[in-house]
Amino acid sequence: MNKKKFAGIFLSLSLLTGIAAGCGAQTGGSAEDTIKIGANLELSGGVASYGQSVSEGLELALEEINKEGIDGKKLQLVKVDNKSEAAEATSGALKLVSQDKVAAVVGAATSTNTLAQVEILAKNKVALITPTGTNPAITNKDGKVNEYAFRTCFIDPFQGTVAANFAADELKAKTAAVYIDSASDYSKGLAAAFKESFTKAGGKIVIEEAYIAKDTDFRATLTRIKSSKPDFVFLPGYYEEVGLIIKQGRELGIDVPFMGGDGWDSPKLAEIAGGDALNNTFITNHYSAGDPDEKIQKFVNAFKAKYKDKSPDAFAALGYDTAYYLADAIKRAGSADPVKIQKALADTKDLALISGKLTLDKNHDPVKSAAILEYKDGQQQFKTNVEPE
């Protein structure tokens, strides 16, 4: 190769990179018109169904919000898959903050994986909103409010209390068994609140048992529960194990009502347990797609149109609500500055969302109502709404 040719190639190459750099600068310019929002969710792994639902709800809402934009800016979602593991959630949060420089983070869908991110985000002064993490410690640990942690859902003690009152008043249960997932903060939180309220209502806890997530054989413990003859079984857990426990429990002849929280809410539950076994079981949840309210039905129809006639579960609804909650805060903050957004999130009052009106109390916990649903032949039926006291 002669020198001239080489120089020519070199020149044209440098010209090209010059143009490319120019382009880069231009897209960089337009990047200022988008606000990046992180989503650190369970897109695969044991509770993937939750993360995927939240993600679908988020996307639908952002699509609607971006039609107008916020002060001419569009919201852009940066997704991270935490594989349903706390360690992955922690490193995902780090990546969102340090590499993507997001304005706020949505996630995770479960309490344990959310708790794994709280400290990192607080240290970097980026607000975290969990759509569905219900453990109280997310927003308030040892009596101290975590300034940068927020949520769109109600907290565990409320769910546990609602379940206990429902068991005592509606189902007339005098004795109850409590069967928890010993590795889940969520499950323990619900159980603690349930025990307190159920005993206060005059009931008696006859047996407390625990399992470890990923177990598949629960017959031995269920046999123990059966011989303690409870009127009611409280089973706060996630759908994978809950499905198997209900199925095996019914096979062993435990025919009393089972009840749990929003962790049951997944179409997989009915597949695993079978529709028959699910009869006479109840859950407390954030909302019901069967609620005749106009706003809810509008959301349900939009969701079905986007996702091939799939009915949105509570996780999808809360993902959707979280996007609106955040968009509202960004609008009021008038800036993509994470610290200003944090302030706006904390000041939210009477924001009308799908899962009810959202007002934050001093712990950053929303004050809103819970729905009670009953399973009939594998389908959720809306029973009643319970207002907070």
Binding site: E209, T216, E251
Partner: protein
Amino acid sequence: MEYIQQLINGISLGSIYALIALGYTMVYGIVKLINFAHGDVFMVGAFVGFYSITVLKLPFFPALILAMTVCALFGMMIERIAYKPLRNATRIAALITAIGVSLFIEYGMIYVRGAQPEAYPGTVLPKETIELFGLSVSSQSLFILGISVLLMILLQFIVHRTKIGKAMRAVSHDAEAAKLMGINVDNTISATFAIGSALAGAAGVIFGVYYIKIEPLMGIIPGLKAFVAAVLGGIGIIPGAMVGGLVLGVIESLVSAMGFSLWRDGVAFIVLILILIFRPSGLFGKNMREKV
């Protein structure tokens, strides 16, 4: 009465361990290799069964046979690719390879289809609860126990009454001498892997039908438990694996029955440690001279 019910629970859990342990013990008996990928072949079997029932719309038995066939071929392939080149290497090298193969299958499966669980259709086998004196036994668990016993008898027959079984015993005794006597050692080892993996495949399908939920990492714990069961009965001894599996299942159920359900897995491994300390050759280890 509760304890008899627990005994029944334990036996149905144990017969799954036994079924996986049969394959473990056979491969060890002949090649002296602890095939840690065995639990993952079990997982592959569960998925093959699942897809043949849901996608190909096969009934239970054809699905079972298809899963066994696919797993047999899969097991032979693993042996040819991963273990055969290491046949004259140290045993620790082969062991480490087995762990690598195991991780490869697990995460390969996640790569192919994602990590979310799948639910077996509930209508594959008639499911009835038989009530007897206040005890409930599901027809499925009787069925599983039946299949485990049947496969064990079949295995004993193959090993002791057929030509290939004779070759297996000869290879396990002394591979060099067997070669001198005109036995094709490679084919014999392939056949061992095929039979062992087919058993794991059968266990996978049965597990799916009985426990409904299957996922790519489902082979790890049952695989380890089956290993404990095989060691408990005396690794390399076929009836030992069967008894070891049943004993382990019953121990686990009794531990839960006493209210220590969180200690269940721990106790299984304590059993392993105790056996290795006090009776390293296993419960059936002493009187048997020939290992297959």
